[in-house]
């Protein structure tokens, strides 16, 4: 049973591990599924947001009178309409958020802090009038100097972005842009490096990138006269939207209902709120439903991105390939408010290796860019780009195969984490072995300017709270409701787990996603937690149903419940005179044995287990142009247990695709004065199918011993290795070590020429 939390190591499953068609698939491919922007209500108004054209400016005044008097405009709101709230932090599953900063981000008050920062919102009878009204809002700015990079923001005389910000180190009197400094240490650094035969030190820069979900942010707010608000939106967490909106608007949580729309991608970027409180407030002011949908330019300017970063990474190894010391300095752009994922970056950067001596210094730095949001294993890809590149260089100096070098130093069960308790059962070694034994690794790579690289990734995965209800129907079919929004195929997984426990056909299980009034609290779909935590709640709820069915059978047959056997969907008894009953047959007897049966379970999962991935990439580099072609790519990842293998593979491929985009093309391009230049998907270059090879997947299953089904969580770690793997492959191809992302043709060509120039100078010097 579930309560003892022991993995079912017999692992003989009937439905788990099969690949049924996803239950929500037909509605999605035929256009019937309702996404956020599809919701409309009678009398509905349309809202738009006025955004700052400046990276950093004081708002001297805002005059909305002209906009408000435009025919068709129903309401105009500014930051003055929002309550002022004190700092309060909350963990959403992918990092801590502070509701005060969320409020300041939802609508700016006395200052705008980035290009795109929301200043005011308008509700009008149609979107065009709302657009026209925005132009009539007069804002008087005093433009301030901006700090766009961590280097600029950390300078002694840097412009101060948030006057109220302090950090513990610098004390209560010092204005600063450094929100936090985290340090992790172990052993003695100097002694460690003294034992090293090889030391590699490199400085890395990574660009700010966006999650790139295709569906823009959206919300419909409906405020009723009785003080209750309903929000329809696409989000990764209905309860997070409820909680944050409650805090920003100071409406009790119980008076807000959030209904999840289908979601067209989130990747961490839809954990928070942007439009939701505005739609509710505009609805409150107008008495009508208000719908707001962002444009792509708004999405890029004002939502999502994850941090650009600077990382200096120095590592030492002995001649025989043992890592002995690491010294790391890392600073991440938080955007305009604290909360970059640098902490997770610091905790993951060398977490995969047993290193006896290290110092990691990590800085969370605010800059005049959009407030960063979580992005798939937040902070870990930046970090791994640095550490996995340095490890590749050390393996080369030691003349050890890069996979073997990683195997030699890999953490295993009982190894200390760089920050945290020792690892329990983990699958890093098995993941490396899987890549080593892959067809890809065994293939020979031939041809000029071609190279192969590997890199690994580590991610914690999250547990958190979930609720599930299984509802047995009279015909023996079932529905299963959770509070987890389905981003990556979780409906299919919930149906599979229900069908597995109840012994019924998976196609007869209807998986549902409840709104905040219909299901118990459920944390976000994030942190790779959904199949682990909501899946466990479903598993327990289905067992609750099973327990009740055994009681019904016992009552029917006048036996004790523990005399009832259940196997393959059939209830039976040792008494041979009693003919067995299927679930379906027993369901017909429910009315006369006590009424309907529903099962429920709620959990706060504490059994999350880390995920590891290793990715191998072959590239071809054109040294005349700097163009990189990814020829082949294989990822091995420990899933713990693959409930629906196709969706596990989908997660592995999706994260890899995003990682390759991050590696090669994606970047936020700001003017020197802080205006975002590439606000569309032509210039913000996400990879297309023509930029990617088939991404081959190897699912490794080292079951999570603390989970009844052995699940670990698969959603995130796949994005961690690609930047380093591609960089290592480029080095292997042409001997140029790339330390800057993205590795686009102009950048790579520059690096190639620099290297040639240095070589030419060395040759000339030798000739002299």
């Amino acid at each position: 049973m579930a309560e003892d939390n022991q993995a079912d190591s017999s692992a003989s499953f009937r439905v788990i591990g099969t690949r049924p068609i996803r239950h929500d698939g037909i509605d999605k491919v035929t256009g019937r599924a309702k996404y956020g922007a599809d919701y409309s209500f009678p009398g509905m108004l349309h809202g738009k947001v006025l955004r700052s054209p400046h990276a950093h400016a004081r708002i001297k005044s805002i005059n909305t009178a002209k906009a408000a008097s435009l025919p068709g405009v129903a309401a105009v709101i500014t930051g003055a309409d929002l309550p002022t709230i004190a700092s309060r932090t909350e963990n959403l599953g992918e990092g801590v958020v502070n509701s005060r900063y969320i409020s300041l981000n939802v609508l700016a008050r006395d200052k705008v802090l980035y290009d795109g920062h929301a200043i005011a919102a308008v509700a009008a009878s149609n979107i065009h009038i709302a657009d026209e009204a925005l132009k009539l809002i007069e804002v008087d700015y005093e433009v301030l100097p901006s700090a766009m990079t961590v280097d600029a923001a950390m300078k002694p005389a840097a412009p101060i972005i948030l006057e109220e910000l302090r950090n513990k180190e610098e004390g209560p009197d010092k204005e600063t842009n450094v929100a936090n400094h985290i340090r992790f240490t172990r052993g003695e650094l100097a002694e460690g490096f003294a034992t090293a035969d090889f030391v590699v030190e490199q400085a890395f820069t990574t660009a700010m990138v966006h999650q790139g979900y295709i569906e823009p942010h959206n919300a419909v707010g409906i405020y009723s006269n009785n003080g209750f608000a309903t929000i329809y939106c696409s989000t990764q967490g209905t309860f997070a939207v409820r909680s944050l909106t409650s805090q920003v608007l100071q409406i009790p949580e119980g008076q807000i209902k959030v209904v999840p729309a289908e979601i067209g991608g989130g990747f961490g970027g839809k954990l928070g709120i942007y439009l939701e409180p505005l739609a509710v407030l505009l609805s409150k002011k107008t008495g009508r439903p208000v719908k707001m949908v962002m444009t792509r330019a708004e999405v890029l300017r004002a939502t999502g991105p994850t941090s650009g970063s600077k990382i200096r990474c120095k590592m030492g190894a002995t001649r025989d390939g043992k890592l002995v010391a690491a010294e790391i300095w890392m600073a991440y752009e938080a955007g305009a408010f604290p909360g970059s994922p640098v902490g997770a970056g610091a905790m993951t950067i060398i977490a995969s290796y047993q290193i006896p001596n290290f110092v990691i210094d990590a800085y969370d730095v605010i800059v005049n860019r959009p407030k960063t949001a979580a992005y798939r294993a937040p902070g870990a890809s930046n970090a791994a780009f640095a550490s996995e590149t340095v490890i590749d260089a050390l393996a080369g100096l030691c003349r050890i195969d890069p996979i073997d070098f990683r195997i030699m130093n890999a953490v295993r069960e009982g190894s200390a984490q760089s920050a945290g308790p020792p690892f329990k059962r983990i699958g890093y070694f098995e993941t490396l072995e899987a890549i080593k034994n892959s067809a890809h690794n065994k293939s020979k790579l031939e041809g000029l300017f071609r190279g192969r690289g590997v890199a690994s990734g580590f991610w914690f995965n999250a547990g958190l709270q979930s609720s599930a209800v299984v509802n047995l129907h009279v015909d023996g079919t079932a529905s299963v409701m959770t509070g987890s929004v389905d981003i990556g195929g979780s409906r299919a997984s919930m149906a599979i787990i229900t069908a597995e426990v109840l012994g019924i056909d998976v196609t007869t299980v209807r998986p549902l996603v409840g709104d905040t009034d219909s299901i118990g609290h459920t944390d976000v779909t994030g942190g790779s937690r959904t199949t682990l935590a909501s899946g466990q709640a479903v598993y327990e709820a289905a067992h609750d149903v099973l327990r009740q069915l055994k009681e019904r059978a016992a009552r029917l047959w006048e036996k004790k419940p523990d005399e009832i056997k259940f196997a393959d969907g059939v209830f039976s008894s040792a008494d041979e005179k009693i003919s067995p009953l299927s679930v379906k047959q027993l369901c017909r007897q429910l009315a006369k044995t006590g009424g309907p049966v529903t099962g429920k379970a709620t959990i706060n999962a504490r059994n999350a287990a880390p995920a590891f991935a290793c990715t191998m990439v072959d590239v071809e580099v054109d040294p005349d142009t700097g163009k990189v072609r990814v020829l082949r790519c294989t990822i091995a990842q420990d899933a713990g247990r693959a409930i629906h293998p196709s969706y596990v593979e989908g997660q592995m491929q999706g994260g890899t695709a995003q990682g390759i985009g991050w590696a090669l093309n994606e970047e936020y391009v700001y003017d020197r004065d802080g205006r975002l230049r590439n606000t569309g998907l032509l210039d913000y270059r996400m990879p297309t199918c023509l930029d990617l090879p088939l991404i081959e997947t190897v699912i490794v299953e080292v079951p999570n011993p603390a989970h009844p089904l052995g699940i670990r969580g698969v959603g995130e770690v796949s994005i961690v290795p690609p930047p380093a793997a591609v960089a290592n492959a480029i080095y292997n191809a042409i001997g140029v070590r790339m330390t800057e992302l993205p590795m686009s043709p102009p950048r790579l060509l520059k690096a190639i020429l620099k290297r040639r120039h240095a070589e030419a100078e060395m040759t000339n010097a030798a000739a002299d």
Binding site: T295, P623, D624, V669, Y670, R672, S744, P745, P746
Partner: protein, 337 residues
Amino acid sequence: MAVIRDVMPSFDLLQPNSADEARNILAQRGSDAWVLAGGLDSFDWLKDRIKRPKVVVDLSGVDELRGIRVKSDGVEIGAMTTLTEVAQNPVIRENYGVLADAASMVASPQIRNQGTIGGNLSQDTRCWYYRAGWPCYRAGGNICYADTPEGRNREHAILGADRCVAVNPSDTAPAFIVLDAKFVIRSRKDERVIDAEDYFIGPDVDITRLHVLQPGELFTAVRIPFTWASSRFYFEKIRDRNVWDFPLLNVASAMFVSNGRIDRVRIAVNAAAARPLRLKSVERAVRGMPPDAATGEMAGKRAVQGAVPLQFNAYKIPLMRNLVKRAIGGVEEAKWA
């Protein structure tokens, strides 16, 4: 900052059925009229409200502007012929491979199905300041935002800049130049036929336009003589991704080789300047030389003489040098490892 509204503004939409009708409309409406071909350049301008024409003349119903016709002295391509049709046409593939290659590398399959040859040649620059509606030189102002210390100019010009540093983004333009194509331009009264390379102009001639088309004129067809048919062609486009993106730089060449020597040659690059550049000095320098690596190196060096990088586009100089090197000397295995 352009506010992308994702909806059309209002304008008078006129949909002529014939080229004559189109020319009459254009003659009457003059500079109020905006000619709509495939719409791929136009719709951005219109939706973004950066260009506000009163009248849009949609050519999609003018059948006589479509199609590829083989004539006694060459091939004529109607201006409204799609890029896909050009890329897949057997006569063009057979005789003018450089054009088929160039057309097949424009944007994406969907865009090539919709985009036309006339549109590809007449599209405006991609400079993101200009397209965002900033009041720059090209928009009638007196500053170039891309060429300021604050500006971002990775995709801008290394040659021929004059106040404005925008570049022409067409992939097919250099191919037409090396094929010595003629562009047919008609107004209500006249027809003029101009050399491909003379169709395009830099900011020194007119800072507000990339080509010579005047209000009231209609680009009706491209005529390609057989002069360069089946010569040795080269086309290469370098872009960030393998689809959608405009060129960081492209190169087209055509040459006849006899007795191992370059006999006749034409070479052009685009996205280096506000107009596609025919590299006449390179053509002169390589004539009589073997089309080998050494000649390629020399050609590449000569091609970038006088190039002036901006803050973020210095890579374009070695890129152009290397593309010209390959176009003349062929892609050989470089001595780099």
